[in-house]
């Protein structure tokens, strides 16, 4: 497990996922900051607003599953193509291999995205004013009263909001990274390992289930996006846990099949 985690966290793909996500965050927040250079300090956005704006308004959604799958999921298809999978299964058991792979992938996918978000927030905490809606009216973020972020707005300059969002991003990153792993065990093509979960994510967010089958699923970013209420959080958590379970089952069946025919 330790070697798997080390391989996942200290790879160039982890770094790539981190950097791409960071670039997406700054691609939205940096131009917004530059445009307001002559507004005066008290009228510019706060560090909290700069940190969360790319999540609420940016294209983070499009690249989220791409980065989640790029962090480590492609390693599955590489191990199949190089026949290294067979050797690894020989050295241990299918269960141990699956456990190590799933855990390492979940951790790598989630951490690459969460670190990018937190690093982005950290940089803005150095540049912009800390969030203080009491003193500066422009720092006000119009959360509704039943939104989970509302009571945290004035607590430690909104730090609990950032931590919650980082946790949500890490969890969702892990879930969609597992989707990449589930694809990779069946179709050992690194590009499809990354692109198919991205397409599924896009279909999910386009209300495909509602249009085709008549029922709605929670938005894929419901654990860290705006307008969250506690019932929405619980509902989203349940749906994503079921999704994670299904993905783990798909992966396990695929691994079992590969192990038989290796």
């Amino acid at each position: 497990m330790r070697s798997e985690l080390r391989q996942a966290l200290f790879s160039r793909w982890f770094l790539l996922a981190f950097l791409v996500m960071l670039a997406v965050f700054f691609g939205m927040s940096a131009p917004e900051w530059f445009v307001s250079w002559d507004w005066g300090t008290e009228y510019r956005q706060s560090a909290l607003q700069q940190a969360i704006m790319p999540i609420f308004f940016g294209g983070t959604m499009l690249l989220f599953p791409f980065c989640a799958c790029a962090a480590y999921a492609h390693s599955q298809s590489e191990e199949i193509r190089t026949h290294f999978l067979g050797w690894k299964l020989l050295r241990g058991s299918t269960f141990v291999y699956a456990r190590n792979k799933l855990v390492a992938n979940f951790v790598a996918s989630g951490l690459s995205l969460a670190f990018a978000f937190l690093f982005h927030a950290f940089i803005w905490s150095l540049i912009a004013l800390p969030s203080d809606p009491v003193q500066f009216s422009t720092h006000e973020i119009p959360f509704s009263q039943d939104c989970i972020y509302f009571p945290w707005l004035n607590v430690m300059h909104g730090l609990p909001i950032l931590l919650w969002m980082a946790l949500g991003i890490a969890f969702m990153g892990g879930v969609w990274g597992t989707a990449g792993l589930a694809v990779g065990i069946w179709i050992p093509d690194p590009l499809l390992t990354i692109s198919l979960p991205t397409f599924l994510y896009f279909m999910w967010n386009s209300n495909a289930t509602y249009l085709l089958l008549g029922f709605r699923l929670p938005h894929a970013s419901d654990l860290y996006n705006d307008a969250l209420t506690w019932p929405m959080v619980i509902h989203a958590l349940w749906v994503n846990l079921i999704l994670l379970f299904v993905l783990v089952c798909i992966y396990s069946i695929g691994l079992h099949r590969r192990g038989h025919h290796a």
């Binding site: 691609g27 940096a30 131009p31 294209g59 590009l191 896009f202 386009s206 209300n207 085709l212």
Partner: protein
């Protein structure tokens, strides 16, 4: 073959080589997976039409050419381009068969066959996109001629500025001609994309092309381009009929013509570059990524 015979048939083997590449491409699981994704995408798009294309809470009874124009004008662009990008991410295809072709023919002919193969790929992808959308949209499209929105505007149910089909299209073209017009910018954008990926592939940078175009396609969503200077136009600004004409009222057709001219010049330069690079490049193909 004797030199005289070579000169008499300068294009000999071009279509054969292009067909071989196209056949290998069509047998790739990656292409088939993306085709399935495009089919699902078209299904979602057509299923969403009654919800998104409404007036006063009721679905607008667009005819099939009108629906297709609305999609080609702007609706299809991002996701279909991303899916197509994945389909063409490996150019030229790194199969050992390329070595056999290079032995049997000249480098220039081989490069020209690749250009022909690129053209066929783009035409195939556009055709599949239209066919798949048609399959799902035709059953619920209304029947009739002319533009539905003209009738709605006359009846006072619709304002001119609310129309989904631009005024210059409704006043100057039939719905079918409008669809052909809307295909043109997408065709040229995709042709340029495959030529750039092919050029970088021949230069020994096979991943750079898809990465660059992936960035370009997503840049107008991931970057706050509204904050950028007006003169800095991303390539996506020339990718669909809507993007080309939206900022130029009353000169849409001249703007479209200039864009097409620009694309022809650019693609011509890319083909020249391909011929130059193809003659000089060190080409080694082996089957490492063939599925």
């Amino acid at each position: 073959m004797h030199k005289k015979q070579l000169h008499r048939r300068p294009f000999q083997g071009l279509t054969d080589m292009a067909a071989a590449n196209l056949d290998a491409w069509l047998h790739s699981p990656r292409v088939w997976m993306m085709m399935i994704c495009i089919a699902i995408y078209c299904l979602i798009q057509s299923a969403g039409d009654p919800q998104t294309l409404q007036v006063n809470g009721s679905p607008i009874p667009f005819t099939y050419p009108e629906l297709l124009f609305i999609k080609l004008n702007s609706g299809f662009f991002l996701m279909s381009s991303l899916l197509f990008l994945i389909m063409v991410s490996e150019l030229p295809r790194r199969i050992s068969y390329q070595n056999l072709m290079l032995i049997r023919t000249t480098r220039l002919r081989w490069v020209m066959s690749l250009c022909l193969y690129c053209l066929w790929m783009v035409l195939f992808a556009i055709l599949m996109l239209i066919l798949l959308y048609s399959m799902f949209a035709l059953p619920h499209a209304a029947h009739g001629a002319g533009y539905t929105e003209d009738a709605l505007i006359k009846a006072g149910q619709f304002m001119e500025n609310e129309a989904l089909i631009p005024t210059y299209i409704r006043q100057s073209t039939t719905p079918f001609t409008a669809c052909l017009l809307a295909i043109v910018p997408m065709f040229f954008f995709w042709m340029t994309m495959v030529f750039v990926i092919l050029l970088l592939g021949l230069m020994g940078l096979p991943l750079l092309g898809p990465v660059v175009y992936g960035f370009l396609l997503l840049s107008h969503v991931t970057l706050l381009h509204e904050a950028m200077p007006q003169w800095l136009r991303l390539p996506v600004a020339f990718s669909t009929l809507r993007n080309i004409t939206i900022d130029f009222p009353a000169e849409e057709f001249s703007r479209l013509l200039k864009t097409i001219t620009g694309y022809i010049i650019l693609d011509g330069a890319l083909i020249a570059g391909l011929c130059f690079v193809g003659k000089k490049a060190e080409l080694v193909f082996y089957s490492e990524n063939k599925e």
